[in-house]
Symmetry: C2
Subunit: 201 residues, 2 copies
DNA sequence: TCGATGGCCGACCGATCGTGCTATTGTGTG
DNA sequence: CACACAATAGCACGATCGGTCGGCCATCGA
């Protein structure tokens, strides 16, 4: 088991880029084979079904996300600093049209109404992501920087919303101010978690 | 011009639902014909290309959005009350798996990397939406309820992010708390716009 | 009553979809 | 060097894709 693994990894890298542009469903075996410089059947032998290819592509994107965003963030000091590092890594990668990030967003909207293994995996990945955000946020609570009655899962959904709003403004509208607005939104989020001012209905 | 228009409108209604589930690209002429109880060619005669069908479906969804959310909101008193009405109409419709709302979100992520008339139209619609939100927000500024130095476009992107975060949590994760969290996020947004506390880096 | 026209259908086109089966090539090991 | 086997290619399949065409009805104005 030597060369095959390299070929598979290279194909998955191509697959991530294609799927980021055309969606996981739009990722075609023929297109991927052409992009990887292989025959359709030669490539198909690595994944024995399209669903398996989609799951493998998703797994590849998940690793890219962990390597690029999650693990480096977890290496920084606990507390608000780590929350900031997480956001910073995330939005910087997303700004550069980072394929793995776009893939997760597009796949989530693509498969939210299509039951199956792909959707199940997406749900797991998304739950893991939100849990990780919440966990990072909790380090800020235990360090005393955030309010102890703040809801970590609330923060996770809010931060996810900030990133989604940014991605829409950045990738669809090509808005040059999108990143600055996302930073301000994130700052407002932090401010709301820090002291004890705002609790409207 | 009598019966044909009814058929077309009915087909577009079906098209919106299918596209909300499978995406604008996944909306197939054959599937739509079956759903509409027509032959493929009979239906196809109403739209002379798939791109035209996609644009017509988008236009139909846009009207649904304006009828369901925008116009009723604009009929309420100016200021914060109108902003609240906008949010309330929006999230209530989205909670019920309202097809038109899902369609715009999925289409936006689907076509953000596919140049063409569909993408162009999506950009126009999205800009119109953000402008409308900003305009509603401005009525709150001129009524003195929101800070005069608040950025309406910032509020628009933020509110859009709240809705996107909600849709992800609701439709992909089926999170029963998603709506409550979205309301709290919206409340935080309003609180940040009201007085002059938070302006962190 | 007759002809025109709008609305719809069945059959069909070439291309491409996902997916098998059968070679043939390449590569690491004894 | 030869053998075993992993890796890739060739080819074909049924289905479905977007799209075209000729023609059959129903309606309606003259």
């Amino acid at each position: 088991m030597g060369k095959g693994d390299d070929t598979r990894a290279a194909a998955l890298s191509e697959a991530t880029e294609i799927a980021a542009r055309l969606g996981l469903a739009g990722l075609t075996i023929g297109d991927l084979a052409t992009a990887a410089g292989m025959s359709k059947s030669g490539l198909y032998a690595h994944f024995r079904s399209k669903e398996a290819l989609q799951l493998a592509t998703l797994a590849s994107a998940r690793e890219s996300f962990n390597d690029t965003v999650m693990r480096p963030a977890l290496a920084t000091p606990r507390g608000e600093q780590r929350v900031r590092a997480l956001f910073e890594r995330w939005i910087t990668a997303a700004r550069d049209d980072w394929p793995a990030g776009c893939l997760f967003v597009s796949a989530a909207t693509e498969f939210d109404d299509r039951p199956g293994r792909v959707r199940d995996q997406l749900v797991r990945d998304h739950l893991d992501l939100l849990d990780a955000i919440a966990q990072v946020f909790r380090t800020g609570v235990s360090e005393g920087q955030f309010r102890s009655d703040a809801d970590p899962m609330q923060f996770a959904q809010d931060l996810n919303g900030v990133m989604l709003g940014f991605l829409h403004a950045h990738r669809l509208l090509r808005d040059p101010d999108a990143q600055a607005r996302a930073r301000r939104a994130f700052a407002l989020l932090l401010a709301g978690a820090r002291n004890l001012e705002s609790q409207a209905a």
